[in-house]
């Protein structure tokens, strides 16, 4: 059934077009019970299922997705991957993720178009350049690539930015991580699904979890739109719906759901070869392989489950785009959309056990869940399989605020009062 993808296979297929490619993943009927269930067919849920099978030999596993797989944020994000983290706990986790990205297309036999095109973060004051230096130094001390750039170097690398007297904030320099870049987001969901399916995992779409089957304190199964399904272990990986699903198990979590918007322009020939982020206001942009400029900014700033953004934020982001990259002015926006994001007070995620035995939680990904996908799946699978945290996700406990162990990567404090 499984037919490996390769240039040769493509050529063979071109010659005998009547033999169709097999399905990328199957669409089985749900069984009445599994060893483990992962709720949420986003990047994290699918990666978790894959690593459960691959790393831990747990193959009697189902991923339950209420819609089609990849219908959530994994298919809505701006596709940036990087590992420029400086808080102990984050650094190692995100670097592990980047390492997994590097081999992912091979590992999954699915080209996820992992593009290490480099990310440049631009500083708009000397003090900001110092804070970038701290980050870069930590990266280098942890074996992660980073280079500091002065203004001249930035001008050479990104000649199309506004360096004129018209720029509201001058660019003092920047920091580049060459290994950072972008990944074709949908391919990540499909690639993990196909690889997990090959190992025996059931990918079950159009199956919404509506409640938990409890045995006392213990979660032993789920109620779904396609019936009751029992499970030895249950992992929640539903991103923007984290609170909603956690509540079904009686859990209250430190998460608020906000909308983040993303934007894409018409496709044009290559103009921007890097991922660019700005220090003046949160703004990031890259040019997709198809040619469209993909960009975004801040969350809208109030909790909502609607996947619609507000227009003032759209204007803010457009203002950033044109002010930093004058070339954006004439390009036409083709689509914009929103994704519901699981925001946490310190901006860092949760992966770990919960107070309910057999129930595990993964969420709170804020702006950064896409780049985390492989490591998140890797460590969550470990936690589910062994009922204990992997050393890489030990810092991501749900009760860290009780202990005062915030992981405040950007030093902005609790975001609910900051916009």
């Amino acid at each position: 059934m499984f037919k490996p993808y390769s240039a040769l296979a493509l050529a063979k297929h071109a010659l005998s077009p009547d033999r169709p490619w097999p399905r990328a993943w199957n669409s089985p009927e749900p069984k009445s019970s599994y060893d483990a269930i992962v709720i949420g067919g986003g990047g994290h849920g699918l990666a978790t299922a894959y690593y459960l099978a691959k790393n831990h030999g747990l193959t009697n596993v189902a991923v339950l997705e209420r819609n089609y797989i990849g219908s959530g944020n994994v298919g809505r994000n701006t596709t940036i991957i990087r590992s420029n983290y400086m808080i102990d706990g984050n650094t190692q986790f995100f670097e592990h993720s980047l390492k997994l990205w590097e081999g992912l297309s091979h590992e999954l036999n699915f080209n996820c178009m992992v593009s290490h095109r480099g990310q440049v973060v631009l500083a708009v004051s000397p003090a900001q350049l110092d804070t970038f230096a701290r980050r870069g130094n930590i990266m280098r001390l942890n074996g992660i690539d980073a280079e500091l750039l002065d203004r001249g170097q930035v001008m050479k690398l990104l000649p199309y930015l506004d360096y004129s007297k018209d720029a509201r904030w001058p660019i003092y320099g920047g920091i580049i991580q060459e290994r950072a870049g972008t990944v074709r987001h949908d391919a990540v969901a499909w690639g993990y699904a196909r690889a997990a399916d090959t190992l025996g995992v059931h990918i079950i779409e159009n199956c919404e979890v509506t409640g938990f089957v409890m045995d006392g304190d213990k979660a032993v199964g789920v109620e779904t739109s396609r019936g009751k399904i029992l499970a030895g272990k249950i992992g929640i990986a539903v991103a923007g719906h984290s609170s909603h699903v956690a509540k079904m198990a009686g859990l209250r979590v430190p998460i608020e759901t906000h909308v983040l918007q993303a934007f894409v322009t018409e496709p044009v020939k290559p103009m921007v070869d890097h991922v660019i982020s700005w220090g003046a206001e949160l703004f990031y942009l890259s040019q997709s392989d198809k040619g469209g400029m993909v960009f975004g900014g801040h969350i809208d700033g109030f909790n909502t489950y609607t996947q619609r953004g507000q227009f003032p934020r759209i204007q803010t982001v457009a203002e950033c785009a044109v002010s930093l990259l004058p070339l954006m002015s004439k390009l036409r926006l083709l689509r914009h959309w929103g994704g519901v994001m699981d925001m946490t007070p310190d901006g860092s995620p949760f992966i770990g056990r919960t107070e309910r035995p057999n129930l595990y939680f993964n969420g709170g990904w804020c702006y950064q869940g896409f780049k985390a996908t492989p490591a998140s799946g890797w460590t969550f699978a470990h936690t589910i399989a062994h009922d204990e945290e992997h050393e890489l996700n030990r810092a991501y406990s749900l009760d860290r605020f009780e202990k005062g162990r915030e992981l405040d990567e950007f030093g902005i404090g609790n975001w609910t009062y900051k916009q």
Binding site: G136, L148, V322, K330, E406, G411, G413
Partner: protein
């Protein structure tokens, strides 16, 4: 070769006004009223473009915003513009795209031969090897091949405006339905805005020849124009619908001229009480092999070119359809003398159509579709299939696969469209409150019924907006609607060798959709994303529904179950510059200028951006670079007297009987017992127990305090105070008022500062006894009240002089003048920030929301007994850990080296890796110690005082030796402060 020609008369073009334009550098002519598309067709340009992936020859396919093929670069800086949406204007320069060397002869068409390899999803299946990062090798080639047009890196010479408008009823679309609803709503007295993307009002009517229609149109338009409460905006597209009835309109101005300050486009945020969607419908193509050859066109578009632009096929046209509307095109062409052949997928064709066709001498092929289309660069012959298999020679092949209501805007509100079997298309799945649909968008295509519906929708909308007085309905012309009949035909069963295109722009064929189906990409979104269907600049306007129909057929389920697609704003491509308007470049964000800005300038300040503020960085008297100037300025303050602009500090006036209680709660230290006339340093925490901000508070009177905050947190702190007082502590009788902009501040610092003040305020007693450290004195100068606080950021004898903003400049000059004999000079931000490092005062880089009071060495000031915001959570386990990183001073031990901000700290014996034991926040050259010093955070803090450390800066491959010392580098006893 050409397939079209222009007639000598007819149409809506103005033959009196010729317009010159260029196409790929060659001069061509057209008329006022032409679009670029009609002008190109009239000039015989049938092959105008190349397709995205296979570089297949393509021509103009439509006459509207749905155009997938005819994209051009306009005036050298605007790529991918559909020719059908460009009004022909004098001097317009159109350039073809995505072909080399030319569209006529495109070498990149070799891609067509490799087409079998480019099967859908091919890039997911290959380009993976041989190495881990092999994609990095392939990607540049893929990127270069992709992308259609070329963008411009030049600054946009055009100008864009933004505007806000309000109205009672917005009508989107000015076809028969839109005109009717707008008029009815207008007659009711409601303020109506009618928007139409075309340059003329009328929609479909502009492509009709019937005099009754034209009479009706001109009558309604005339009345609409006569109504003062109706605003008509042509060339205006409703781009998106947002929450609470916000509709974003883009208006394209006819006479834009940046040089004269005339904007090219205006983006209007319009809020309307009620909205009527009269957005019409878009014809969809039929899918058959080689349906993309130049000369293959939508039937309605051909009719528009005929009736509106007086363009006809050279001699012969073939029309293929599955519904009735294409017959209008056929009849009009036949009447214009063109030989018309009609192929209809349906076996049973309404008899009135058959008899009219017979009368006009048209060849009719019922139960017949298209097997293949021939012609390398334009249609020459068409192979029929079905009941008849004739070969037809023709210049133009027109097709109609039915009509898709434009449900985009109604879907933006989150209401999914639903499939309507009667018209084999999706219609709005309902309307949000105060939204109404009228005309073709609702699936009604007959003129009479559209007017009837329009009358009702117009009245309903007016009523919803509060105008319920019944208005006279708009008259119809009394014609009889014929029922619309369609039998959907999504795709041929086999496509043979020829490619049958579903998405023309993205080159997605029937075969690609079958492949997606085989591989399980059957959800509509999977299908789109896997094949790139609908992802082009036309946003799939002609392709999405055909693809859904085809997929439903493959899945053997009704379309209603196969799902629908998500319509995302904007409706058509919208320049990012138009969204940003004038809030770009220098105007991107406001510049905040201190009241002393001009004075600073006059004294030779160089400014630096600090958040929104422009702050005086250093002054010309001290040097020409910040590195040299700040040192001289520091020396001035340490040895003589300097004056600095500190107006950016947040200033909050706190008044009321409970002012003391309020401050007592928000600050960790107490303010209730602060005597009147005295100031105190204070620190406040967030609820989570982490330091939020610091500043000084002065008690002006029993129930009146004056608080300063840091520049960076001024807005936050103000909002936080208001939050607490207005929502939580509503029983406290306190008012807070921001004085940040109302008052200016200047620091007068240095051993000679008292003398300077004495000179400046000869009548005031500024002696140590009368104005001790942390004292406050109100003085008057020329009748202006001035507040002198004896505070020091630098560690020297120093004062803050606060004065109403309008007097700041004069006071500044006054002090500089009278204290001139003391050698007073201004000093800037760099020196301010460096002096405080020597003194060990924390500032922005240390107050970064990660640190606790204890981390900053401020634990002692917190009241033990009293409660304060953040007290409870301050004592969480990890925040109390003894080895937390906390504030230290750092002295460089290698004289020939430098300390750098952002260095990572290690103990002398540590291996240099990982996260270290801390980091440097701020660095300065110490003029007192004659060496580099720094503040930083270090594990365990001052417990390690005197220990040797390594400051690592791997980004520059540097490691320097340093020592942990007290952060108070100078005057630890405070002798200078208290002098």
């Amino acid at each position: 070769m050409t397939a079209f020609r222009r007639l000598d008369k007819g149409g809506r073009i103005d033959r009196e006004k010729s317009v010159n334009f260029t196409y790929d550098g060659k001069s061509l002519g057209g008329f006022a009223g032409d679009t670029l598309a009609s002008a190109l067709l009239a000039n015989g340009k049938t092959l105008t473009s190349r397709s995205f992936k296979y570089h297949r020859p393509r021509g103009i396919m439509s006459a509207g915003v749905e155009e997938p093929n005819g994209l051009f670069a306009i005036n050298g800086n605007e790529p991918n513009i559909p020719a059908t949406t460009v009004d022909l204007v004098e001097g317009l320069a159109a350039q073809s795209q995505n072909a080399w060397p030319s569209v006529d002869f495109d070498l990149m068409a070799v891609n067509s031969f490799a087409a079998p390899l480019f099967q859908t999803g091919f890039y997911y299946k290959t380009f993976m090897g041989p190495f881990k990062k092999s994609w990095m090798f392939y990607e540049p080639f893929i990127r270069r091949a992709a992308g259609i047009g070329k963008g411009s890196c030049e600054k946009d010479p055009d100008r864009y405006e933004t505007a806000h408008e309000f109205c009672d009823v917005l009508v989107v679309g000015a076809g028969p339905a839109g005109l009717t609803t707008a008029l009815v709503a207008g007659r009711s007295g409601a303020r109506v805005v009618l928007v139409e993307q075309d340059l003329e009002l009328g929609g479909q009517l502009l492509s009709e020849t019937d005099r009754d229609f034209e009479m009706w149109r001109t009558t309604q338009v005339a009345e609409l124009r006569s109504l003062a409460n109706v605003t008509i905006r042509t060339r205006t597209t409703a781009q998106g619908l947002y929450d609470d009835n916000l509709v974003v309109l883009l208006q394209r101005h006819e006479n834009h001229d940046a040089a004269r300050g005339r904007p090219r486009q205006t983006l209007i945020s319009l809020r309307s009480k009620a909205i009527i969607f009269a957005t019409g419908a878009i014809e969809r193509p039929l899918v058959f092999p080689n349906n993309d050859r130049p000369g293959v066109m939508l039937a309605s578009a051909l009719r528009t070119y005929l009736n509106r632009f007086a363009i006809v096929p050279l001699k012969r046209a073939l029309i293929v359809t599955n519904n009735d509307t294409a017959y209008k095109t056929a009849f009009d062409l036949a009447e214009a003398g063109i030989a018309v052949t009609m192929a209809d997928h349906r076996n049973v064709i309404p008899s009135d159509l058959l008899s009219r066709a017979a009368m006009l001498g048209m060849a009719m092929f019922p139960g017949t579709g298209i097997a293949d289309v021939e012609g390398a660069k334009q249609v020459t012959r068409v192979q029929l299939a079905g009941n008849h298999s004739a070969t037809i020679e023709c210049d133009v092949l027109a097709m109609s696969g039915g009509w898709n209501p434009v449900v985009h805007l109604t879907s933006h509100s989150g209401i999914k469209p639903v499939y309507d079997d009667a018209i084999a298309a999706f219609v709005p799945g309902g309307y949000a409150k105060n939204h109404f649909g009228a005309g073709a968008v609702t699936g009604k295509f007959g003129f009479e019924s559209v007017i009837k519906d329009g009358n009702a929708a117009g009245a309903d909308a007016a009523k919803a907006a509060g105008f319920d007085k019944p208005a006279t309905p708009v008259a119809t012309i009394g014609a009889k609607d014929r029922a619309y009949k369609i039998s959907p035909h999504w795709a041929p069963k086999t496509t043979g060798k020829g490619k049958a295109f579903v998405d023309f722009q993205s080159d997605v064929t029937v075969k690609d959709i079958r492949t997606a189906h085989d591989e399980g990409y059957v959800a509509v979104e999977h299908l789109k994303r896997y094949t790139t269907l609908g992802m082009g600049t036309d946003q799939g306007k002609t392709s999405n529904i055909n693809a859904i129909g085809l997929m439903a057929e493959l899945r053997e389920m009704p379309i209603s179950q196969a799902g629908t697609t998500t319509f995302r704003p904007p409706y058509t491509g919208l320049a990012v510059g138009a969204i940003a308007g004038r809030t770009v470049g220098l105007h991107f964000r406001p510049y905040r200028l201190s009241p002393l800005h001009d004075a600073n300038k006059a004294h030779g300040a160089t400014f630096i951006e600090a958040g929104l503020w422009m702050r005086a960085w250093y002054y010309a008297w001290a040097g020409s670079t910040p590195e040299t100037a700040y040192i001289r300025e520091m020396e001035l303050v340490r040895n003589g007297v300097g004056i600095a602009d500190i107006s950016t500090l947040g200033k909050i006036d706190v008044q009321g009987p409970d002012a003391a209680e309020f401050l007592n709660r928000v600050y960790v230290n107490g303010f209730a017992k602060l005597p009147v006339g005295r100031a105190r340093y204070g620190v406040m925490l967030s609820d989570d127990g982490v330091v939020l901000d610091d500043g000084t508070t002065t008690r002006i009177a029993d129930i009146h305090y004056y608080t300063t905050t840091t520049t960076a947190q001024a807005g936050e702190v103000m909002s936080w105070f208001e939050y607490l007082l207005q929502t939580q502590w509503t029983d406290l009788k306190v008012h807070v008022t921001s004085l940040t902009d109302e008052w200016a501040g200047m620091a007068v610092s240095g051993p000679k500062s008292r003398e300077a003040l004495q000179l400046a305020f000869p009548d005031a007693d500024v002696s140590n006894e009368n104005l001790p450290y942390m004292g406050c004195l109100d003085v008057h100068l020329d009748g202006v009240r001035i507040r002198i606080l004896r505070l020091s950021f630098s560690g020297e004898l120093a004062y803050e002089v606060h004065v109403p903003a309008e007097y700041a400049g004069s006071l500044w000059e006054h002090v500089l003048k009278v204290a001139e004999p003391l050698g007073i000079r201004p000093y800037g931000l760099e020196a301010l920030a460096s002096l405080r490092i020597e003194k060990g005062h924390v500032a922005g880089l240390e107050l970064d929301h990660r640190n606790t009071l204890d981390d900053l060495g401020l634990g002692k000031i917190a009241g033990k007994e009293k409660s304060y915001v953040g007290k409870e959570l301050r004592f969480r386990e990890a925040l109390q850990a003894p080895d937390r990183w906390s504030l230290v001073g750092i002295e460089l031990m290698e004289p020939d080296k430098k300390l750098r901000g952002g260095s990572i700290l290690f103990s002398a014996g540590d291996e240099i890796k990982g996260h270290g034991r801390g980091y440097i926040t701020s660095v300065t050259w110490s003029t007192e110690l004659k060496k580099f010093i720094a503040l930083g955070l270090y594990q365990g803090g001052l417990k390690h005082e005197g220990e040797d450390i390594i400051c690592a800066f791997p980004l520059k491959n540097e490691q320097v030796k340093a020592r942990i010392v007290s952060p108070h580098f100078i005057d630890r006893e405070g002798a200078r402060l208290n002098a």
